[in-house]
């Protein structure tokens, strides 16, 4: 028997852990964590260990298919017919060719973030000329964290610095316990931090995995995170007077003077914001080298105008959120909030410093972390932004113990670094790929939309796809005179995962005359396809970008890395490498050279490695060129195949960028006023009614529709979603080992508080009806004390019915299907679809 171990990258979620795959006589027989890989340090999760059951799934697609049933619907049988690759690609080229002169009729769902295809599909769509490029999957997740992080941290995502943190508050996230990037790395950091004595407070409607590991679980009513944050800010700023004065004075816009209309007071000559220097009692331009003591409080006259520092406005603003007032909104007892805020304030140690590798740095060993939960609301931006402000006012950003920005800066193999811009504020986030990144500052100029996703009406948002099921119902209402005619999708399941109300998504997909995409197994999205192309599993692929180590690596001083994914085994005959399929489509459309131009730019491909116009390449040739371009002539693909990865040490400046960024962070979002006014002009001209309540410079708590609906509309509970570590990202829903885990842990049930269950006569394990305004499903009740009594908890990404997923069929609930999808439930800043919904539960 011939046995060997192959070093490659896991693909059972987006993290991309390093793995060693055992192959016996061409058959994968085991997977282990790679101990040399910084992303997981030899550790693996249950999902990763189960990965090769996906490889040997007997229901895998291995040849292109075309539908013969023209009728499309959630439960329509496409009546597949096997076809050749040539017929499939000819048909695809013909249909794309038909919209060649009006490329915006193409919609590309590119999210396949475990490998290259994520950007390659975006580049294909971009070379074609469509603006409808979806580089994200969720209807909520990522819609706020990235635009906030790029303007208030510098990188793609955030991570608490578990190496030095002593007090961590998690709000709506199960960071380092059940979820998040670099998962298997930060799990160990979390365990070590807890053993070291770090206090962990989890604020969440669901008492899930994170809460069970915490010192304290604080149940909170869904959609009230901003009220909680504003209450904490009030205690810190007004009751305890704990804030990092020097940081606010010199590293934020807190001292910028704000005039009566909410706008900065600007120097008439330069247009730059002004501050008031208490050292010599004079107003100065914020970047005047002579500034010594910028005022954070007070009121000043400046050429007849009264102005106050932004920080003074923030303090006054949060004073309306006393813990007692916040208790009414959140149900969190005032004394709990006050205690947590004061404990946080003491732990954050304003003024402390520490030495790391001979460099003195501020030490702020306390921070607040948030992720999916707060983002998923009608007012998701401000729900989240208020939480980030806690870290900013205490100076706990990008310093030891505080909140760190992921992948914000690096020196090898290229230099990338966040930078300041407009008004001295952080404007250009750091990104290893020289690509535009999502950021909410300074935003774009609103204008009359030509995009079907109305991106032009969301000038501060990074994502827009949640609008598509709404606009597709009546494009004319939005001034649009066309429809999406072709959709291309990655091998993911957008129907279940990227939108809400399934009936609305069904109608949207029914309006698209031609849909094609990739599949490993035929899921519910594929049921709408006209042509499906088979896709290799991660154990059969090459990827230069393997996972999200380039965007969400572990933070701190541990080594960074770059790994190239290689096949452990060859894909079955009939399955082609997706990069080669994409290049083939581009070539047939006559846009291959444009595609190369975009790839060369995105991956910094210079001569002699740049892809050359007029040439054709195999996937291995492209990756070899990329690897040699980045890491040197001797480190091409063969080197990576033998060695797996390059480890890249990070110095103190890269690990803790806070003191080394030449830019200020915001506490006051002046530009929201400007963008709101510009947008109002556009919507007025279009005759649209629009909600501008979120276009304010300081965060406000505003209720979600569910908050009021449970009081008035006959609904008595609010449904929310939570994650399981072993079904993270739903890559294993049809995997028998994952299914067994789910069965044995009751993951397919819905959580109902024991008091509520008792009042309704529901016992643990009972079949119940779960009804939202748009969906009514059967579910199994899991009665527990570990959920807020006003909440129903639904975990995972379940509720499948596709015949191609026989193991997953009929198990659990598809949470998104419960969500009404209408403009009133969309965050007007971020486009997040509200992920809390009013429901009733009964037998």
């Amino acid at each position: 028997m011939e046995s060997n171990w192959v070093l490659t990258s896991c693909g059972m979620c987006y993290v991309g852990c390093g793995i060693r795959v055992r192959v016996d006589d061409g058959v994968v027989t085991g997977i282990e964590g790679d101990p040399n890989h910084p992303q997981n340090r030899g550790k693996m999760c249950a999902k990763g260990k189960a990965g090769f059951m996906n490889l040997y799934n007997p229901h895998r697609l291995k040849t292109p298919l075309k539908r013969t049933n023209p009728k499309k619907g959630l439960h329509e049988d496409p009546k597949w017919q096997e076809i050749s690759w040539d017929e499939a690609l000819s048909t695809i080229t013909e249909r794309l060719g038909a919209i060649r002169e009006d490329p915006k009729k193409l919609y590309v769902q590119a999210w396949e973030v475990i490998g290259d295809n994520f950007y390659w599909l975006l580049a294909l769509g971009s070379a074609f000329g469509t603006p409808h490029l979806m580089g994200n999957a969720s209807a909520t997740c990522g819609k706020v964290i990235h635009p906030v992080e790029f303007f208030s941290g510098g990188g793609f995502h955030q991570q608490p610095d578990l190496h030095y943190c002593k007090y961590l508050v998690l709000v709506g996230t199960q960071f380092a316990i059940a979820a998040r990037g670099a998962f298997n790395h930060i799990l160990l950091d979390m365990a070590e931090a807890r053993a070291r004595g770090m206090k962990l407070v989890v604020v969440d409607p669901v008492g899930g995995f994170a809460a069970s590991k915490a010192d304290e679980w604080v149940p909170i009513r869904p959609g009230t995170d901003s009220a909680f944050a504003l209450g904490m800010l009030h205690v810190l700023l007004n009751e305890a007077e704990i804030y990092d004065k020097k940081f606010l004075q010199h590293r934020t816009n807190a001292p910028y003077l704000v005039g009566p209309q909410g706008r900065y007071l600007r120097d008439p000559g330069s247009g730059k914001p002004m501050i008031y220097d208490t050292a010599d009692r004079s107003a100065k331009i914020f970047d005047d080298p002579a500034v010594k003591e910028p005022a954070l409080t007070g009121s000043y006259d400046f050429e007849g105008l009264k102005a106050r520092p932004a920080f003074a406005l923030l303090r006054e603003h949060v004073s309306r959120y006393s813990p007692e007032k916040v208790e009414e909104i959140t149900t969190v007892p005032a004394k709990t909030l006050r205690r947590v805020a004061r404990e946080f304030g003491e732990a954050v140690s304003i003024g402390a410093t520490m030495m790391i590798d001979g460099v003195e740095l501020p030490s702020r060993p306390a921070c607040v972390d948030w992720a999916k939960g707060p983002q998923g609301h009608k007012h998701g931006f401000h729900q989240s932004w208020a939480l980030k402000l806690i870290n900013i006012v205490t100076g706990a950003v990008n310093v030891p113990g505080g909140i760190l920005s992921t992948a914000a800066a690096g020196k090898k193999p290229f230099l990338w670094w966040p930078d300041g811009g407009t008004d001295g504020l952080l404007e250009d986030g750091g990104h290893i790929l020289p690509l535009p990144h999502p950021k909410a500052f300074p935003g774009r100029t609103p204008t009359r939309p030509i995009r079907m996703d109305l991106a032009e009406l969301f000038p501060l948002a990074p994502h827009f796809h949640t609008l598509l099921p709404i606009t597709s119902e009546d494009p004319g209402r939005w001034g649009l005179d066309y429809r999406i005619e072709v959709m291309l999708h990655a091998p993911t399941n957008s129907l279940l995962g990227s939108f809400g109300d399934l009936k609305k998504v069904e109608r949207f997909y029914q309006t698209i005359p031609f849909i094609f995409g990739f599949a490993i197994e035929i899921n519910e999205t594929n049921l709408f396809d006209d042509i499906v192309l088979p896709f290799p599993t991660y154990l059969e692929r090459y990827d230069f970008v393997a996972g999200t180590g380039l965007l969400i690596p572990h933070c701190g001083k541990d080594d960074w890395f770059w790994q190239v994914r290689q096949p452990a085994v060859a894909p079955p005959e009939g399955i082609r490498y997706p990069q080669e399929v994409i290049m083939e489509i581009a070539a047939r459309l006559g846009i291959l050279d444009d595609f190369y131009r975009l790839i060369n730019h995105a991956f910094r491909m210079k001569e002699p490695y740049a892809l050359e116009a007029g040439r054709r390449y195999s996937v291995t040739e492209v990756i070899d060129r990329m690897a040699r371009c980045w890491f040197g002539e001797d480190r091409g693909l063969p080197w990576f195949q033998e060695n797996g990865l390059v480890r890249i040490p990070r110095d103190v400046e890269e690990a803790y960028i806070g003191p080394f960024i030449d830019a200020r962070l915001p506490v006051y979002l002046e530009h929201f006023l400007q963008r709101g006014e510009e947008l109002k002009e556009v919507t007025d001209k279009m005759g649209l009614e629009w909600d501008f309540s979120d276009y304010v410079p300081l965060p406000e708590w505003l209720p979600c529709p569910a908050y009021d609906a449970v009081k008035h509309d006959g609904f008595d509970l609010i449904a929310v979603h939570f994650k399981f570590p072993y079904v993270y990202g739903s890559y294993g829903n049809d995997n028998p080992w994952i299914d067994e885990l789910c069965e044995n842990t009751g993951a397919y049930g819905v959580l109902i508080h024991s008091d509520v269950a008792k009042a309704k006569g529901i016992a643990d394990g009972d079949e119940v009806w779960l009804e939202s305004p748009v969906e009514k499903v059967r579910a199994k009740a899991k009665v527990t004390q570990c959920i807020h009594p006003q909440v129903v908890g639904i975990g995972g990404h379940f509720g499948h019915w596709a015949p191609g997923m026989p193991i997953a069929q009929g198990k659990g609930v598809n949470f998104n299907a419960l969500l009404p999808t209408e403009m009133e439930r969309i965050d007007k800043i971020s486009t997040a679809l509200d992920h809390c919904v009013e429901v009733r539960v009964y037998k």
């Binding site: 000329g129 990104h431 690509l435 774009r444």
Partner: protein, 103 residues
């Protein structure tokens, strides 16, 4: 190419990414006075395509949005004089890139 009679240069402008949908065409050849810069080219495009072009391409007067890339004969203008880059016989690519997102 420059012509002696008119002292003008012909610049082939290629639109990529979102701009193809905004402009409604893949490329066009523009004639500009000799000595024109990339900034002059953009001023001409702004006149031709109006507010829909301006609002998408500029973040404020004189500043391109971070998602707009401009190459002159294959060279990124960021590394070659920015909007002040002089145009001779040129092929100009104006690329409006999609955001690299996540979530």
């Amino acid at each position: 190419m420059m012509t002696e009679e008119t002292s003008t240069v012909a610049v082939r402008v290629k639109f990529m990414g979102d701009l193809r949908a905004v402009i409604g065409k893949r490329d066009e050849t523009m004639t500009l006075p000799q000595g024109s810069t990339v900034g002059d080219l953009f001023a001409s495009l702004c006149r031709s395509y109006g507010e829909p072009f301006v609002s998408r391409v500029f973040s404020k007067a004189g500043a391109l949005q971070h998602y707009v890339l401009v190459f002159v004969n294959g060279e990124n203008i960021k590394e070659a004089g920015g909007l002040g880059r002089r145009l001779e016989e040129s092929e100009v690519e104006i690329i409006m890139l999609p955001m690299f997102e996540g979530g």
